[in-house]
Structure formats: C-alpha cells, structure tokens
Symmetry: C2
C-alpha cells in the first residue's frame, strides 16, 4: 500500500517513524509542515522538517523531541556571549543541518532538494517532503497582537491567548511537485497526531491538497487524548478558540476530509459522536511511548485502512 | 606614544598582544590583514582578524595559534557527515563569531563595525581594525596555477611552489577610514613579525598605506629567525621566490618603508647588512614563548622607537 503521512512536529514524527518501520521507502512519503520555518542568525531553520528527518534517521533527542540526541550547545553559548539572540536552542550538530540547508538554498537548490540531501546523509531512508518550496509563514493571532509562530511558540512559550491563525503566503505558494505526486499516487493518507491548527493546518491550506486527500482513503489520528494534548499547545488552542478539548472536536475539523478517525482508548465514549460525523472509527492505544509503540500504532492504522472510504466519493 | 601595529596571523598577533599589555587602548590600534578572508559554508570567515581578536581577548588557542582555547568540534564533524567541506577547521565557539559576523554584514554593517562588536563582546580592549571594508582576495601563483589563499594554505598545506602573489580587488579597495585615521595619528608604526608577502603584503598594497607608514617612525620585526620562519610558509616562500631566507632579505622588502628593523639575536651577524640599507637596527630575542616574552619584545620595540626616523624624511 502506498501511503502518504502528513506531519508537523514531535507527535507526527513519531507516527511517521512507526509507518517507516512498517513500510518500504518506496511505499511511504512524509509531507511536512513548513509554516513554522524561519530565518534566524542568518540561517534558514525548518523545525518540523528537521524533527521528522532526525526521527526517521533515529537520531532525534528522545527527551525533547526536537534536536539531536546527545547534542552539545557550545555554539549557542558563544553566540549568546556575542549578543546574538539565544532563545531558539540550536545544538552544535543540529546547527550543521541549518548551515548546510542555508548553503544549498543560497546555491539555488529548492528546500525539497536540500532536505533530500540532508536526509540521505543522515540515513533517513523514506522521503521527507517539505509541503512547499515556496515560503509560507504561520502567524498566530493573539490578544497581544499577531505573532510570528516561533515568537509565539518558543520565545513566548505559547502564553498569549490565541484568537486565530493566518498562513502568510499560502495563497501564492504551491504544494511541492513531489508532495502533489506523492498524494496523487497515495492509496492511503494518514494525518498524524499533530496540531490541527499550526502543524497540519498550513499543509491543508495549500491549493488542491484538501481535494487530493478527500478523494482517497484518509485517516486522521487524534492528537487529543483524554482531554489533553500529549505535547504542544493543541489543547490550549482548542480551548481559547471556544472548542471542546476532545478528539471529537478534532474530528469535526477534519469532517469532509478524512473517512477514518482514530481515537485513543481513553476517548472511547466519543466514538459514536465521531461515527455520527460519517467517519469510520478505530479506538486504540495512540500514545507512543517507545519505538515499538510507534510501530504498533502504525500497524493498527494500516490495518484499519482497509475499511476506510474517501470522504468525497465523487470527483475530487 | 600612539602606536599602530600591522599584523597578519599568529606571530603578528603575539606582538600585538605584547603591545596591548604595554599600551592603553587609546594608544594602540591593530590593523589586520583581510586578504585571506573567504566565504565558506555560506559564512564570512576572517582568519587573521579573528586570530588577533582572540589573542587580544586572551582566549586564543595556545597550541594552534588559531581558534579558541578549549573549543569543541561537534559542528564540524556533523557538517562533514552532511557532505559539507570540512578541511577548514571551525570550532563550535569560533563558529559563533563567523555566524554573528555574517549576520551583521548581511544587515548592512561594515566589517569594521562587525569586528568592533565581536571584539567588544569578547573583551578585546584595543581596537582591531580590518585593513579595509572592501573585499581583497590574496591569490597565490604557483607551479600548479593560481590558488585562492585558503586553498593554498589550508587545503593544500602550502605544498605548491610559489611564483608570485596577487591581491584581487586591491586596486579598487580603500583602506578603512579607521585604519587611515589611526595611521595618520600614529607616532610609531610597528610591522609585526608576520609573513611579508601574504600577511602584511595586502595591507601595504592598499592605496596610500605605504606613504603613511614611510612618513613616520616605523619599525619592522623580522619573522625570519635563524634562517627559518617560526610559523607558516614565509621561509618556503622566500626560497621559492629566489630570495635568501634571512632577516636581511625581509629588511630589503621593507627598504624605503621603515626606518627601524629588529633582528633576532640569532641573526646578529646580519645587522651590518641591514644597517647598510639605511635602517636603524635592534638585535634582541624576538621569539615570544609566553605572555611575558610578548611583553618583553613589545617593550624593547617601544624603547627602540626613540631613535628611529621616518624612512621618507620628505613630504609623505
């Protein structure tokens, strides 16, 4: 089965890794959010692309989810002493990725090409596809004004109250050719348990992406478990936007897009409500505590896929 | 006494440091070669400026002369794994300087301004002045063709046989305003024991610099001791250019430019020949094995200055 996974940060990367354990490189591509990419210290930084790449390469820091296991921070400390901003924590080995990517982009390569080169060097065997080679910037609208995503997420620790989101540039940005080709060939699309607003939202906002997903079997895995987000601000965002902090509320966001939805066993009571949205449902343990947990969830999703129909059965 | 030191790499930085121990910040400026600056991994790297800055700041690596004492090389190893060239050894802390400089240059600062900011953050108290804010590239002409300086020096280990030098851009480059102002106000100019061809050569090739030096008391310290260069390719270059490998041969290169010349005590027999060039001479221990050796040589040079006249006594 040819599968495309859509992923943002840590949670998404874990399920992508589980799928990579289950599927050959030619049968899985991971399309990754680039809305939180930014320029910092003169370098192009792509946090979600790197998290997915490092996770697939088996070198991700298991404690933080971001960065490289065992990395050191000598550069960051020295950079701070020189007066450069140090709120974004870049490890010495991680920095090599940013420098190499920036160098390749400056030499005229696309982000897709630069990502492919880094992934190959790190032995990440499955394609990691940035959602677009064009710039898209996630802006978080808050009670303190509009913030760049990293400013909101890292510098401000998700503290300001969210009122909405914008993806600057998304109207003129195109999904990458590679992403479109992967989606067009996909027999299953998996929306990983990433933040629906700021991780998958930018991917889904790109022209044509929703139609490509809705036209084929697609499954979303809830990032909300037992009324909480395992990581990141998804629960806080749902709350501040006046939505329930529940798997069901996430399922409503994906109505008309996916035919299948996976809830955690803690949220089994919400299954009828999700089924009432016209989705097939699977209730299982979605918390990936280890590599075997990632593989187990991936296998469960792939087994579930057989009974899932496209959300749009018409032309799409 | 207001002093300007001209310096290239390691040996020059050591005497500059000795002078900095002897003189207040307002009484010493160090003009530094930028001919071996280059772009690498998308970063602007200024090896001589950094060597002088780190040496004045007291953080230079005493074993190598370049880089920062105790630096680590995690970035370099990771960068090499990504396929980036790793022949130029950048430490993790050293890298912060290159990133910060590149960021400041990209933001429109001059190299002089960026250097001032880095030096201030590192507590180098005496002004470190890049010779020019305009690009000058030292090219080494060899029996294997023309090589960029770092390619010759680091990547090829000074192996190719030298036939000459060119300083690309030097005809249109201007010495920095700060360097001209410092030279114009100087009561003494010290040509540190740096390579006369590739360290001091680019500085002296800038428009007007030689005239400014020749018009005031100036002293050169021989980088050749006992027929050898203490560090770097100066001896090899003299030999390949058909010159003697001697202090006297270096003095001839500076004839008409400096009125005073310092020879090592190992080279005392050459003193009459140097004096015959019309220079005052000082014979002393020029080998700086420790901080106190740097200070001792600096004090000797400053004491010697009283008897040194400008090489040009006319209008200059």
């Amino acid at each position: 089965m040819r599968v495309v996974a859509l992923a943002g940060g840590v949670g998404g990367a874990k399920l992508a890794h589980g799928l990579a354990m289950a599927l050959a490189p030619q049968d899985l591509a991971v399309i990754v959010n680039t809305g939180d990419d930014f320029d910092h210290l003169g370098l192009r930084i792509c946090p979600d692309v790197d998290t997915v790449t490092y996770t697939l390469a088996g070198i991700a820091n298991p404690e933080t989810g971001w960065g490289i296991a065992g990395d050191t921070f000598e550069f960051l400390a020295a950079s701070g002493r020189l007066g450069a901003p140090s709120w974004f924590r870049i490890g010495d080995r991680d920095l090599a990725t940013h420098v190499e990517r920036t160098r390749r982009l400056a030499a005229g390569q696309s982000l897709t090409e630069a990502t492919r080169a880094v992934a190959a060097a790190l032995d990440a065997r499955h394609p990691v596809l940035p959602m677009s080679d064009d710039p898209v910037r996630t802006l978080v609208e808050t009670d303190e004004g509009t913030l760049e995503f990293q400013e909101y997420f890292v510098a401000r620790g998700c503290e300001p109250r969210v009122t909405g989101f914008r993806f600057a540039g998304v109207d003129s940005a195109q999904p990458s050719q590679e992403a479109v080709a992967a989606l067009s060939a996909a027999e299953l699309v998996v929306l990983c348990p990433s933040n629906p607003f700021v991780s998958l939202g930018p991917i889904l906002a790109l022209a044509g992406v929703k139609d490509l997903i809705a036209a084929r079997p697609a499954i979303a895995v809830s990032p909300i478990v037992g009324g909480e987000a395992l990581k990141g601000p998804a629960a806080k965002m749902l709350l501040e936007l006046g939505l329930d902090v529940s798997a069901e509320a996430v399922a409503r966001l994906y109505q008309g897009l996916v035919g299948g939805f996976v809830l955690d066993k803690l949220d089994g009571r919400q299954e009828p409500a999700v089924a009432a949205l016209g989705m097939n449902t699977l209730v299982t343990d979605t918390v990936m505590r280890s590599d075997s947990g990632r593989r187990r969830l991936a296998d469960a999703v792939l087994a579930f896929a057989g009974g899932v129909k496209p959300a749009h059965t018409g032309a799409g």
